[in-house]
């Protein structure tokens, strides 16, 4: 069983370099990402940018091994993730923390139980310690008072923060976050950024992959940026390079300029027939 120690060895040796080679991915009958080649440097925060619907969450699903690429490779520390024996694949994935776009908390467990779940399932720690750890982690995301609420009793932003608490409770060397700040108010969004930066301070070797639309957050936290555009890589490099770029599309993206200069609402979206039907309904 030479594989037994490899994940640890990988951590020590090469860190958690993630490398995509000509990744092609999508859903049955539909290719979303055509050809992605990119590096996610280990021990750094990489932001994945891109328009809504361009396939960022899809990319993340592949990075965490939930979907198999249609073609191309995902390399962790130089080894093809999907070519590993099942046991080794799981040993690597154990070291991931993942925040899903909508939190993906288990609906039948309270927030605290959700956060304690990965610890409880994989260790023999006493219940009191599990609870205490969950509470401390919830404190970090500002949800201590909601520990005994069920996910459906929380707001979208709270579920997201709960999802982050669950993702970081195992102190993973690799953390994936799908839009950690979307749906949060400016204060909580800034808090989220700060939390990610603090995590980075606390665990300098941690590799973070953050999918986001939030440019303010990119500017604050990212060391490295990958921009997905039309199924390929539109830009890869540092935030400074992105800021300085002269590319027209990148400038529009960074400066929040809409696709066309004229107003989009040149014509009314509903025509006269619809309008009169609506008026009739309103009068009723």
């Amino acid at each position: 069983m030479t594989h037994e120690t490899e994940p640890q060895a990988m951590e020590a040796r090469a860190g958690w370099d993630i490398c995509l080679e000509h990744l092609q991915a999508g859903y049955p009958g539909r290719v979303v990402l055509h050809d992605i080649s990119a590096q996610f440097p280990s021990g750094a925060i990489t932001a994945v940018l891109g328009e809504s619907g361009c396939g960022k969450s899809t990319l993340l699903r592949h990075l965490i091994g939930l979907s198999r690429p249609m073609a191309g490779k995902i390399l962790y520390g130089g080894r093809d993730f999907f070519d590993l024996p099942q046991a080794y694949f799981r040993r690597i994935r154990r070291r991931f923390g993942v925040l899903f776009q909508d939190g993906a908390l288990l609906g039948s467990l309270t927030l605290a139980e959700n956060v304690a779940l990965p610890l409880g399932e994989h260790t023999k720690l006493p219940a009191a310690l599990l609870r205490e750890t969950a509470m401390r982690t919830l404190e970090l995301v500002g949800l201590r008072d909601f520990a005994d609420y069920y996910p459906h009793e929380l707001s979208g932003g709270m579920r997201k923060r709960g999802g982050l608490a669950r993702a970081i409770v195992t102190e993973p060397p690799v953390l994936f976050c799908d839009e950690p700040t979307s749906g949060l108010d400016p204060i909580n969004a800034a808090q989220m950024d700060q939390l990610l930066l603090d995590m980075k301070m606390l665990y300098p070797s941690m590799t973070l992959v953050v999918v986001t639309h939030d440019l303010a957050s990119v500017r604050r936290i990212a060391d490295h940026v990958i921009l997905v555009r039309e199924g390929g890589v539109g830009f890869a490099g540092t935030v400074e390079a992105l800021e300085a770029s002269e590319d027209a599309y990148l400038r529009r993206f960074m400066d929040r300029i809409p696709n066309s200069e004229q107003g989009l609402l040149t014509a009314q979206p509903v025509d006269a027939r619809v309008r009169s039907a609506l008026d009739e309904w309103l009068k009723r």
Binding site: L66, V98, F100, D102, A104, G107, L117, P118, G120, H122
Partner: protein, 261 residues
């Protein structure tokens, strides 16, 4: 020619389905032994399947027994052998109606809940989230339900039997006036260990069949072609209950015919 092609593809897809059921089953059983902290999960499921179904089972058992008492009396009185009512009621219940009706009730009550819960978890990424935390969905969700069902089905079936025999007593003895001693004496004389075994084995088979079908329908709700999202879960739940009931009746015939040999 067309018929042949159709028949061939039908047979292939049937084999395919049966194979995937088998794989799901083996995987579920395997996870019983590899999942940590099984006891609390099983207890939680036993509560969901068993305790919450107890009232319905008692109710159905009582009325089934009462009807058996009436109908049995009506038939036996023609042959002047109403003394056999106890034997007739108890054998019918223990060998046949107890396991079957319990399984069908549980498919409707607990099985549908299994499919719906697992299906919703599937379409809202909760199973993916488990998978990423290295908590296999098969181990966390399916295996405890297998084990709980195997423990709970025989218990509920025996409760059904006992309540049913009491129901037969109510109509046969209290209402129609058969001797109390004759009713219970005939039960003791005619009910053998084999009969009880048959009922027990049936309830185990039904437990595994029902959980297998219901869990699998929920687990793969996202792959359904006849609906998306909530609709897929709804369809999965409906077909889980229907397939479970059919499978229970088919399996009932198979077990009965092999036991009567």
């Amino acid at each position: 020619m067309k018929v042949l092609v159709w028949l061939g593809s039908w047979a292939l897809s049937l084999l395919n389905t049966l194979g995937s059921f088998f794989i799901f089953f083996v995987d579920g059983i395997r996870h019983i032994f590899t999942t940590p902290k099984m006891a609390p999960k099983v207890i939680r499921q036993m509560y969901a399947i068993g305790v919450q179904s107890l009232f319905v089972i008692v109710l159905i058992g009582l009325f089934t027994g009462m009807v058996l008492g009436l109908q049995g009396y009506y038939v036996l009185v023609k042959f002047g052998s109403t003394g056999f009512l106890g034997a007739a009621v108890s054998l019918t219940l223990v060998r046949e109606l107890g396991p079957v009706l319990t399984a069908i009730m549980l498919a409707g009550r607990a099985g549908s809940a299994m499919t719906a819960e697992i299906g919703v978890m599937r379409i809202t990424d909760q199973i993916d989230a488990l998978e990423v935390m290295d908590i296999p969905g098969m181990g966390y969700l399916v295996a405890p339900r297998f084990l709980a069902a195997v423990l709970v089905f025989p218990l509920l079936t025996s409760i059904f039997d006992v309540v049913g025999i009491f129901g037969g007593y109510l109509t046969g003895v209290q209402l129609l006036g058969i001797g109390e001693g004759i009713y219970f004496g005939r039960i003791a004389a005619s009910l053998t260990a084999t009969d009880i075994w048959e009922g027990f084995i049936k309830s185990l088979v039904f437990a595994l069949l029902m959980t297998l079908i219901c869990c699998r329908q929920g687990y793969f709700a996202h792959l359904r072609k006849d609906g998306r999202g909530p609709e897929a879960v709804a369809n999965a739940t409906t077909s889980a209950v229907v397939i479970s009931c059919v499978a229970v009746l088919v399996a009932d015939y198979v077990v009965t015919s092999s036991m009567l040999r």
